[in-house]
Symmetry: C3
Subunit: 371 residues, 3 copies
């Protein structure tokens, strides 16, 4: 298939953007089978540090263990099901203690102490550890997978492996994060990110820095899709001013500093690489027509330690851009929900969306019927 001429591709039928049945099918085939990005590992640097992650209706604790590795557990006591932690993040000295009856769990999830359970026949301490979820780390990002036997990350997302080494992403630290909740099916968020056909009308501030025609894609099939855009003559980063506000990432140099890169990592992550900082979007489903989006700005640690470090130029730029995108996506959601909606034709500038639709339908186990 030539992705530049998706001549016969049309938008998906309306049921994919709101029906509870499709939502449930997506749960099973995609969101409880694929790897989901949940956090930047640098947020929990020390043993015992933890984050609470709300994901697909479940609550997870992402914990840095004794050996320095990261594990994720359901935030749920094995006694009567109570949530262990209601705070967003914290630090366990040795144990996570349930606030109801004080059962205590070790950092590895094992049940360490359960008062007054002596003599209870059905109490098997070894079987009552926290329920774990598969976890992996890639370039400083933590991914989880609800599936009990997931396809290994390196195989599931093979296109990622080694692709971004030069940016030295594990060295970056998050300096800001914003959470948005919007009335939009998650796929509209991804589609919006996957084309710059809308940039002239919707993002004048962005289109000035990276004219929409200067986009190309170097990953055009499967579940990692995207490529570079070229900065215009007087622009040096994606900021309100067009100037950089951090130090160059990794060992980028020369012409490499003239490009930005945008990738969808299906199903729930966007990775945006500027010369001097990275942006991570994580898209979480809250319902068939509701999504929560976390956006995180990451810079080199040594840049953040400079006395005049000020990331606001970058933060404002993407906050403005994000809000433009969420707003138009909400207008799309409303129109698609109307009785009059029917699939429309994709332009040549939307070939990545057509490919995303294919990846999506394939993972969902459905055939493309609009070819």
């Amino acid at each position: 298939m030539d992705h530049r001429s998706s001549d016969n591709a049309r938008t998906l039928p309306g049921r994919y953007y709101g029906s509870p049945e499709v939502h449930a099918r997506e749960s099973e085939r995609i969101f409880r089978s694929e790897w989901l990005c949940v956090a930047t590992a640098a947020r929990i640097p020390e043993t015992g540090d933890w984050l609470r992650v709300e994901l697909e209706g479940d609550s997870l604790l992402v914990i840095r263990g004794e050996d320095g590795s990261i594990q994720a557990f359901h935030n749920m006591c094995r006694h009567r099901g109570t949530r262990l932690c209601s705070e967003a993040e914290g630090h366990f000295k040795k144990f996570a203690v349930c606030p109801y009856h004080a059962w205590a769990y070790g950092l590895d999830g094992s049940l360490a102490r359960a008062p007054h359970m002596e003599g209870v026949d059905c109490f098997k301490q070894d079987d009552l550890g926290l329920i774990s979820v598969h976890t992996t780390e890639w370039e400083g990002q933590v991914f989880v997978n609800f599936n009990e036997q997931p396809v290994p990350f390196d195989k599931a997302l093979a296109a990622l492996i080694g692709k971004f080494t030069r940016w030295e992403l594990p060295e970056l630290v998050p300096v800001h994060s914003t959470v948005y909740e919007i009335e939009v099916n998650w796929k509209l968020v991804i589609q919006n990110y996957s084309e710059c056909y809308h940039c002239p009308a919707l993002h004048p501030q962005l289109n000035r820095l990276t004219p929409f025609r200067d986009a190309s894609n170097d990953l055009t099939e499967g579940n990692v899709l995207g490529g570079p855009m070229h900065l215009s003559k007087n622009a040096f980063s994606m900021t309100m001013s067009g100037k950089t506000c951090g130090l160059p990432l990794g060992d980028l140099e020369g012409p490499e500093l003239r490009d930005v890169h945008y990738y969808v990592i299906f199903p729930n992550m966007f990775l945006s690489l500027m010369p001097d900082y990275a942006l991570v979007h994580r898209i979480h489903r809250l319902g068939p027509t509701r999504s929560r989006i976390e956006c995180e700005w990451l810079f080199r640690r040594d840049a953040t330690e400079q006395p005049d470090f000020d990331p606001s130029d970058a933060i404002e730029f993407w906050d403005v851009t994000n809000r433009q995108d969420w707003s138009i996506s909400e207008e799309s959601q409303k129109g698609i929900a109307s009785s009059a909606y029917r699939p429309g034709p994709y332009s040549n500038l939307e070939s990545m969306i057509a490919e995303l639709d294919r990846t999506y339908l394939h993972q969902l186990g459905e055939e493309i019927d609009d070819a």
Copy 2:
């Protein structure tokens, strides 16, 4: 049938006032088959003027075209379904331009411009105009019909034709409008309007001006129902003071100025005619137990141009009356939703409701089973 002795008529069973199944059946048989009143034509006097109308979960654009006639279109771009307009009203110079990727539509709905679609095989410009909805104008009111082959307005609502000529309604202009959202099934709103049995207890201010016994009905069958009420000795219009605040409508004179007239135009309009102004209610379903009601006050244009014109006496009167009606209707809705509800007997003063129930069940394709 003698409408004065609906001796055996009882209220409808509870399922008609809240079940999603009845709501869906009403969509198909009534709200997507019958003519619905959506606006006063005088609100969009010039070519290119438009209103956004939210109706039955859809969004419509009602536009005055090049030839001066009014058309309605789904407010939905044919590219990726986005809503074209999020404002409530406005003016198009020549085109409606989609805010996402700038497809442009003419005032007649045709697709005039679609950037970057050259070479896309499935792009057929002539087939991608805005999706239209049947529209007609009657006495200055705009009606739409979602049905693709609707019964013509003159046949569907034959009782209206010529009935109100003397009031010269097309000459009136709206001077005020109020929108109410209430927790009530739409039929309770209509039933409430259709009898004055409740006036003594609920509307002392109204009952003084038009005692409830001085009501009669001149249209007593089918989908247009109502008739005159006689103003009491010292009352000259339906206002807080009982005085008029406009000029006499049309060529009314003498004893005609002593009556007010109330008509239900099924399923979604009330027309109330006072000697010096008209009132239009439009009832829109928001859900099985939720309705939005627009109330609009219309006066002769020359009256509104007089230096001392002040419609507040009329506006306050109906706002007070409306709120009394919505409040008691909400109490009815709650009671009907209780496990104890069962149909109760209509009085002789509620013959119009009994007839409305018949019209309703007939349009719904169900038999009356409480006779």
Copy 3:
């Protein structure tokens, strides 16, 4: 069965804490079959006094009649179903008059007056009284039963009869009441009340007054469950200070004044007896995962008439304790709703919950399958 060794009992499967199907089955088998506590009779002392009670989606009027007895009726007019009363409580002189068309009902529920119904064949005045609900009074508490032929109270709740005579509860008057609405299945509220295993971790202020090990149960089977806890050396009541703030209830004396008593009266009442006051909790279902809880503080009338009477020490104590309990129960609800939840083992200190689960499943008509 030995309630002290419920060795094989586990918590109920997750569907019992949120599924609409279980909720509907509970309606039929429990909440519309069993006796529900709705009010303290002392709140409506005079003929014509009434309370509005919202219960299981219905609205009831609890009225003191001409003969001094209490009856309950659906708060719904037999004409067009309107709610008669929207206030929370009040006094009828002779009649309850519908605000819509002024039908009037006597204190015994009979239809006394219905204007303009003469000559309506299907109007049978004698059949159109308010719809009544079975009512009884026990120890000053009003219970209703939606079932048309309920098991008599004395038989349904035989364990209660004569059990609390010495406290002279009918002499008490409510001095304060607080209503809580929480995101919790009703059964979690009951389970929380039924064990003090959680007291050390959750209620330090309570555990000081009545150490959790000093609890025993004297009713351990069926639908009335509970028993005494012993006050610690320096505590004399359940208050912030540990001091009493009322006069001793009934003819309690000596060692009896050293105990507090806690009983679940299934399905919707808790009775807590302190030496100097009583506490009543009424648990009302608002949905599968939402409950409304009324908590009422009752003291001897002569105590309340003393010039220095101040119940705030008792009110604050239980308000603090209630909020701790609701908060942890909401955390349990969330955890049980997660995809990872599975039944966990009960400790020896939770034998009453195991028995409550049995009573519940028995009333629901289901077998225990986790033994």
